[in-house]
Symmetry: C2
């Protein structure tokens, strides 16, 4: 019981010094690596950079207690930062006190929602985000973030959370490009791209062991940040107009509850729900993938509680919404983290930085942060997935395309809502006109297949109709039409056998329709039979009057119906 | 082509004097019978009584041209009147010029939507209203209308379109009950109930032929109206405080377009959509039932055009939203109408009344109209359906209960939206955790059934897994969990056969999941096979890489897989 809600109890009693050594190493590496991205994501969300650091301390401790993934690293991530910014932009001026408060409220609401969803085991909600919608959403968000960071790379300003807001500003300020900033930005960008493409091989080629080469290559952003900070400081570039991170308050995050303002809470409900679902889907699919690699399991509903408490922790420590981040998790995993204790160690490391080392970040140029964001974010753009989806299913593709288009043009909220609505609508549309087939017997077997696709035996007075869909309100009327059309076009039919092998559910609307079909066929002196009704469906039918009123019989198999109803029983 | 869009061409060329005689009779009867209800429904909608008459003239002519049902009678109906009132209440003061304009706009928007839905063949949209939701909605609407008419029966005032608005006013004005009004109301009510319950038998008992007895019994409301009007006129009851219909302008309806006001149109979009869908569902299911009785067919998409043009006709002739009305259609059908010409004759009859006879309606007491509405509306309350749904499916029942509750407490719009949303949500939830079964062979046959329900043969190294649901985004992850749990719990399994007989669709998300399962089983040295893949599903799979990467084979039947994979092929 306790173990279920406090997964820390499953691993802490067996904790060894060997595990601690691995976790310590991973924790230290993570705490160094995530500083640049934490600052950068706060900037994307329109928040002061220090908020990104705050959100990387307490939330990690909460997840250590309540999370089930051994290696997931929690913190601010790019997509949630974009969604946070988009949600807060209409509410307050970026950077104002009201804006900071709203960010905390957003994290709190999202944390409460996630926790409650976990307690009530509502993790299945996340399933309504189909893969094509998620992938389209990530692609479009990546493009949006890259566009917004282009302004920082060029030293100009452009704000907004969709292309119709961003592009005009970006284009009109293009002549104001700040040359020194561009040099720093482009330099960092080039360095990071090279590091990513050839860093590992080159470092191994000069004789470094694989693990170390890997780590240094991954630390590219850290080097970029250190080098550009030193250059900016040495040449006093900030006085020449290069935007820098500037003063970051020293000390631990203040612990306080966000203010309660009903209308603000109300306004942030939908954004908080979308943030929760997107964050959860992102995090849990990554967690599952990594757990599978080490033959471990995670519990999605407990993960909701882990992420929920992490967000509540972010809310009470002047933070921003958090979730399991791809890049920080990969770093943690590759650095050999064994238990969530690595997260605690990383939290302590980042806390030490905020207490003592923030003055060192003063000269960090915003352009080099923009470069690190741009390089990491463009990996979200998944052209291969777009192409595959187009090839496999136009219907899935249209949901994906709508998501991409609306996210780009209208923003993250519209994009994800459109994607989910369209996926559900298309699924309902497809199931509302079910495929059905008249089947016949594959000669010499007990197997029956579609008469138009296979060479099969049939009897003209028996119509064996297989309906390839669960029967429910959206297709109940369609079923009636199908049967009536069949009877009208084949007057010689005396028996209709509905083959129910693909019917997994008959709801009340469909039950009424079958009742109506039964009555109408009786009038036309046609007998209605059922075959291959599945156990759970049969259990339900027994609670209705249908089986008493049915003019024909219920057969165990299509073959049994065939043997009984055909006119020439000699085989 | 012409015949398809102008169904009048299918029957007019074959029109005979015999048909005309039947239609003339039905038309005259209908025009007399529907006058009280037309006045009453306008009052429910908060409109002047004459609007109900106007809406029973031109719309009938439009439907004569474009409708496909031979016997459907179009006009104002109780449910749409309630919905119209609820939609207009927040927009203007009942009875004001702005209110009249808004009613016309509502009819116009609804007419345009219906016509466009018909042209683009979007009739299937109506399928998303499940039977339990419709039935719950009608029940709750009936109760709401009865509650609102109780005030008219008592001679007090209570306004509103949900019980939280209606009840407090009704209860607080109870002491002001107007005795004479109550006497008229209660008297009419008693007369109508008796007429409905025993009128037919009694009239036949005193020797009238069945048809005539039937007709007189159905004409109960007309007699009630005539008698109470005469009584009120004779005793000058209106000067004693009995509310009467009063002055009705004489003459044909004015022909004019409703004004164009973008913000008003925008505000009425959702109500118009709901009105359209509810009106269509009501009308088309009645039309189908009646058509079936005479072995005729109606075309749902052409019906949309018929109802759409009828509403446009209502809009340009100072009317209100209309659809096929249950009581007027039953009267029309029973009076022997043969073609839509009966509707034209009824329209001419009602036009004559508005031109010449409206002064006769001056002394008609509102209380006796309220009595006719109450008696006819309570037939909508369908307790049997509620009980049946509860017995058959808790899930359908919960959608029905939510519809009833929200319609009563919040109003028609909230009720119907909640019902539809909940039906769809529950359907998705049910399909998101599909039933699956490990199956074995029914001894001596080629038939395979659930191992836990039937006594079947199995082989320990082959898992025959039947998934009873189409695979799509909502259950893709659940499928992975099911297969991984199976493998984990049965280490002796070497072959997993996914039996796809109930799988009617594999979307892009599910395809990714099967790919993932295939890869992961390969790692565990388990082979994945597919069996009984349906034609359309197979066609899609061939467009993906799955079949190339599949570790096992695709079998035509489960039996074929069984024969191939079992270790002891001697039978």
């Amino acid at each position: 019981m306790f173990k279920r809600y406090l997964p820390i109890l499953t691993w802490l009693p067996h904790y060894t010094s060997r595990l601690f050594a691995a976790d310590l190493m991973a924790g230290v590496i993570v705490s160094i690596m995530v500083i640049p991205q934490s600052l950068a994501y706060a900037i994307i969300a329109g928040l002061p950079p220090v908020v990104g650091l705050y959100a990387s301390i307490l939330p990690l401790l909460a997840y250590t207690l309540f999370g089930t993934s051994r290696t997931l690293a929690v913190g601010p991530v790019a997509i949630l930062a974009l969604m946070t910014g988009a949600a807060l932009a209409p509410i307050a001026v970026a950077g104002s006190q009201a804006y900071l408060q709203a960010a905390m409220v957003l994290a709190l609401l999202s944390g409460l929602m996630l926790t409650l969803m976990g307690v009530f085991k509502l993790g299945f909600f996340a399933n309504f985000l189909s893969h094509p919608v998620i992938s389209g959403f990530l692609t479009a968000s990546g493009l949006l973030i890259a566009t917004s960071q282009a302004a920082n790379l060029l030293g100009i300003s452009a704000s907004g959370f969709n292309v119709t807001e961003l592009l005009p500003g970006l284009i009109s300020s293009l002549p104001n490009t700040h040359a020194t900033t561009l040099a720093i930005g482009a330099g960092s960008l080039a360095f990071l791209v090279l590091m990513r493409l050839w860093g590992r091989q080159s470092l191994r080629a000069i004789g470094l062991p694989a693990g170390v080469a890997d780590l240094i290559a991954k630390a590219g952003p850290v080097f970029a940040v250190i080098i550009t900070t030193l250059v900016t400081w040495h040449f006093d570039l900030d006085s020449q107009g290069v935007a820098v991170v500037g003063d970051i308050p020293k000390g631990l995050p203040p612990i306080m509850l966000p203010g309660f303002d009903l209308s603000l809470w109300h306004e942030l409900l939908v954004p908080a729900l979308l943030l929760s679902v997107v964050g959860f889907v992102e995090s849990v699919s990554m967690g599952q993938m990594l757990a599978a690699k080490r033959r471990q399991r995670i519990s999605p509903n407990q993960e909701l509680i882990g992420l929920g408490t992490a967000n509540i922790a972010a809310a009470v420590s002047a933070g921003m919404p958090v979730t399991g981040g791809l890049s920080r998790t990969v770093i943690n995993f590759d650095a050999g983290a064994q238990t969530p204790a690595a997260g605690t160690i990383a939290a302590i490391g980042i806390a030490l930085v905020t207490v003592a080392l923030t003055p060192l970040l003063y000269h960090l140029p915003v352009a080099s942060l923009a470069a690190t964001i741009t390089v990491s974010i463009l990996t979200l753009v998944d052209v291969k997935m777009i192409r595959q989806t187009w090839r496999y299913s136009r219907s899935d593709f249209s949901a994906m395309a709508a998501t991409i288009l609306l996210t780009l043009v209208e923003g993250v909220e519209a994009g994800i809502i459109a994607g989910v609505t369209l996926s559900i609508g298309l699924f309902l549309y497809r199931t509302s006109r079910p495929h059905s087939a008249l089947v016949g017997r594959v000669p010499g077997t007990e197997h029956f297949r579609n008469m138009t696709r296979h060479d099969v035996e049939s009897e003209s007075h028996v119509a064996l109709l297989r309906i390839d869909e669960s029967l429910y309100f959206a297709n109940a009327r369609y079923l009636e039409d199908t049967v009536y059309a069949l009877i009208a076009s084949r007057p010689e039919v005396e028996h209709v056998v509905l083959i129910c092998s693909a019917i997994n559910l008959i709801d009340a609307s469909a039950l009424e329709s079958i009742d109506a079909i039964n009555e109408r066929l009786k009038d036309s002196e046609v007998t209605l039979h059922l075959a291959e009704v599945k156990g759970p469906v049969m259990d339900k039918l027994k609670q209705s009057d249908l089986l008493d009123n049915l003019s024909g019989r219920v057969f165990l198999s299509t073959y049994a119906a065939w043997c009984e109803l055909r006119k020439h029983p000699d085989e």
